[in-house]
């Protein structure tokens, strides 16, 4: 029972990061119908920024905001350089463009930085724990969960109580009608990419803090987790993305801990089987979004 509780806390910590990643994917999908496979590259770019800052001996109090700023700027640059050129094209074109961005960013770091793993110091408190009764809880998990909750509340307020949020939600519901009603497409799309970058940046801080390293392909895993979580939750649904992130994190930790040793290496495979089963019974994901299109 204690171990189960421990696993639940670990799963929530992991799921929090996935939720932030999935939310970033869902925000962009909502306005552009773009399943952004380049989302993980925001973490790759931020990872190299963290590495460069680490080389200079900078503190994580500086590195963390730097990561967020890098992710936002990178997201806007990618939108400007790549996605704005294919705006209005078919979903398939957008999808291929996102793959293209992923490969170009990855190859650029490979060619112009290094194929080797680049490491930087993690903050010392990342592995600290504290006890609550019989439970040993990681400080890191606690911080991640708290920051995620605050971020989700702030995002909800942004979407519900600001003109930008209203425009974004309107564009997500029906982009063409929103434009006819006076919503500026450029602004709302750039705003969506900036918000997506911000969420990726916050997730990236924790992802990179835990990893302590980066490589040219460092973005693949966060991208997969973010896209998977968004799919599980119901593509296009912001609430679903958060739910999907937590579900994926909990499933990973619980399966790895609970599966018999002889098949524990199949954890990832079992998760994909579960996702496949989910889509058989609920093709729309956990939360139904009437206007979303599945890619």
């Amino acid at each position: 029972m204690i171990e189960l509780l421990q696993n639940l806390i670990d799963g929530l910590g992991r799921g929090s990061i996935y939720a932030l990643l999935a939310l970033g994917v869902a925000v962009v999908f909502g306005v552009m119908h773009l399943l952004n496979f380049a989302h993980g590259e925001l973490i790759t770019i931020s990872g190299y920024a963290a590495y460069a800052a680490g080389q200079q001996g900078w503190s994580w109090y500086i590195i963390a905001p730097l990561i967020v700023v890098c992710a936002v700027v990178a997201s806007l640059v990618i939108e400007r350089v790549a996605f704005s050129r294919v705006r209005g094209e078919s979903d398939f074109t957008l999808l291929l463009t996102s793959f293209g961005v992923h490969f170009v960013v990855s190859a650029a770091f490979l060619l112009y930085v290094s194929a080797s793993v680049k490491t930087y110091p993690r903050p010392g408190w990342v592995t600290n724990t504290y006890s609550v009764g019989p439970l040993n809880i990681e400080v890191f998990d606690t911080v991640v969960i708290v920051v995620t909750i605050v971020t989700l509340i702030a995002t909800t307020m942004l979407l519900q109580r600001t003109m930008f949020g209203l425009a974004l939600r309107a564009a997500s519901a029906d982009f063409d009608t929103a434009r006819l009603m006076g919503v500026k497409s450029d602004s709302v799309i750039r705003g969506a990419f900036a918000l997506s970058g911000l969420l990726a940046g916050i997730a990236g801080v924790f992802w990179l803090m835990r990893a302590g390293s980066t490589t040219p392909s460092a973005g693949i895993d966060p991208m997969l987790k973010g896209v998977l979580a968004a799919l599980i939750g119901g593509l296009g649904s912001l609430r679903g993305a958060v739910l999907g992130g937590f579900a994926l994190g909990l499933a990973e930790v619980l399966l790895r801990s609970r599966l018999p040793d002889s098949i524990a290496s199949l954890t990832e495979g079992v998760i994909f089987v579960l996702i496949a089963l989910l889509f058989i019974f609920r093709p729309q994901g956990l939360i139904t979004v009437a206007h979303a299109e599945r890619v």
Binding site: N7, V117, N136, D141, R210, A211
Partner: protein, 455 residues
């Protein structure tokens, strides 16, 4: 109008590219002759490199003082009397690019490198494919090999290793140096049909070695490496082990833990926990750590083939649970992924291919490369394997006095007691896996030092 201008410009550039291009190869190819020219140009920049060359020669004389086995190997190499039928490695490495002998004019010895520059193994293949042409320059600087120049061509395998191999074979490569993983090495072997010697320089994958199809490891295999780690742990008085694996029989990430566990149990130890993880990816080991916390008595050895940042992340989480008495040992992957520069690495042991001490021939060579090219090579512990691959192929050519790849392969199979930069290499009587000593390194007071060598 604009479009027409663009089309015209494109056509002009295409014609120019066609006119200036090399008929033989693509952009990824590097000829050693070109590299030699570059080296000479750079050599003209100052006197520093001449001094470096002298320093290197001095370093070579000092090697015997180092005391460890690897340095002894290097010393043997330097003392080895040079004859026309043995590669004068010490002489080549001492070459002064400022004062080269007359350029060799015989038929070239052609070394083909089919390399993977992706982030899968680019961390070793990229620096390896920079260093080998440099060593070819040094060889040519001292008059080549018996008057024959050494040419190196690098072909990036991309997603088509067979095509890269065909390019090298069409060029006339006498033997090949290949990437470490089966994904690329196997298509290369299918393309050569086993008729051209292939040295899979940085690989420890036992299934890639097969002398009958001319495929050779240049270093110890997974079984030797992890058995050495297990026996070293037992000798430290540790009798309980926690093993991290990607699954039984999985190449490298499963085979190494399998071999470690087998040797550890055979030596009287007990594997108290086997944990799964995802290589390259996992840095959150919460689930595994919770389980280990319930069974550990804080004295175990933790073994994995994980990467440097994974081991230090795991260690941090285990220590966070109060498990600060564990001993960590890993494979050559730790050497490739910067365990030397990781935080929280004190006491971690690993099995590099070459334990480099200041003044070793490979250390001097890498310093020479840096002085000439202005940048240091990464994955230093692997570099000797690439250089040895080239020298092994050349040695086989000298032994058989032949240029036919199949005959060269037969000569490779007879090589015995070859003194390379990475230690002694013997293929005679093996299936292509040289029985080499395994260095055990450990981070002591922040320094990565050799603590043992296991045969």
């Amino acid at each position: 109008m604009k479009l027409k201008t663009l089309i015209a410009l494109f056509a002009i550039f295409t014609l120019l590219a066609a006119a200036c291009g090399d008929d033989d190869g693509d952009d990824a190819s590097v000829d050693a002759d070109d590299m030699a020219d570059d080296g000479d140009d750079m050599a003209d920049d100052g006197d520093d490199m001449a001094d470096d060359g002298d320093d290197m020669a001095d370093d070579g004389n000092d090697m015997a003082d180092d005391g460890d086995d690897m340095a002894d190997d290097g010393d043997d190499m330097a003392d080895e009397p040079h004859t026309d039928d043995s590669v004068d490695i010490a002489g080549i490495l001492a070459a002064d690019l400022d004062n080269c002998a007359d350029a060799p004019s015989g038929d070239p010895i052609r070394v083909g490198m089919a390399m993977d520059f992706s982030d899968v193994v680019g961390f070793v293949d990229i620096p390896g494919s920079n260093l080998v042409p440099f060593v070819a320059d040094l060889a040519n600087c001292v008059g080549g090999i018996n008057g024959r120049p050494v040419e190196v061509r690098v072909a990036e395998v991309g997603d088509d290793a067979a095509l890269a191999t065909e390019e090298l074979l069409d060029w006339g490569a006498h033997f090949l140096i290949g990437p470490p993983f089966a994904d690329f090495a196997l298509p290369i072997l299918q393309t050569t049909e086993g008729q051209v010697p292939l040295f899979v320089a940085a690989s420890t994958e036992p299934t890639l070695a097969d002398a009958s199809i001319n495929s050779y490891l240049v270093t110890f295999d997974d079984h030797q490496m992890s058995s050495a780690a297990a026996n070293w742990a037992l000798d430290q008085g540790i009798t309980r082990a926690i093993v991290f694996t990607e699954g039984e029989g999985v190449p490298y990430t499963g085979v190494n833990p399998d071999a470690f566990a087998a040797a550890f149990i055979a030596g009287g130890g007990e594997v108290v926990s086997t944990q799964n993880y995802v290589w390259f990816v996992d840095t959150d080991f919460s689930a595994q750590v919770n389980e280990i916390a319930g069974i550990s008595d804080n004295t175990e050895v933790v073994f994995s083939a994980a990467l440097g940042y994974q081991v230090t992340a795991l260690r941090g989480q285990l220590e966070g649970q109060g498990l600060d008495g564990l001993t960590y040992i890993g494979t050559d992957a730790l050497d490739a992924t910067g365990i030397q520069v990781e935080d929280n690495n004190e006491g971690i042991a690993h099995t590099p291919h070459t334990s480099i001490s200041p003044g070793d021939p490979i250390d001097s060579l890498l310093a020479h490369y840096e002085a000439v090219n202005g940048e240091a090579l990464e994955s230093r512990g692997f570099m000797a394997l690439y250089v040895d691959s080239m020298f092994l192929g050349i040695q086989a050519m000298l032994d058989c006095g032949c240029d036919e790849p199949a005959q060269i392969g037969e000569a490779v199979q007879q090589i015995s007691g070859f003194q390379g930069l990475s230690g002694e290499i013997t293929y005679a009587g093996t299936n292509g896996i040289p029985p080499k000593a395994v260095p055990i390194n450990r981070i002591v007071n922040g320094e990565d030092v050799l603590v043992d060598t296991r045969s």
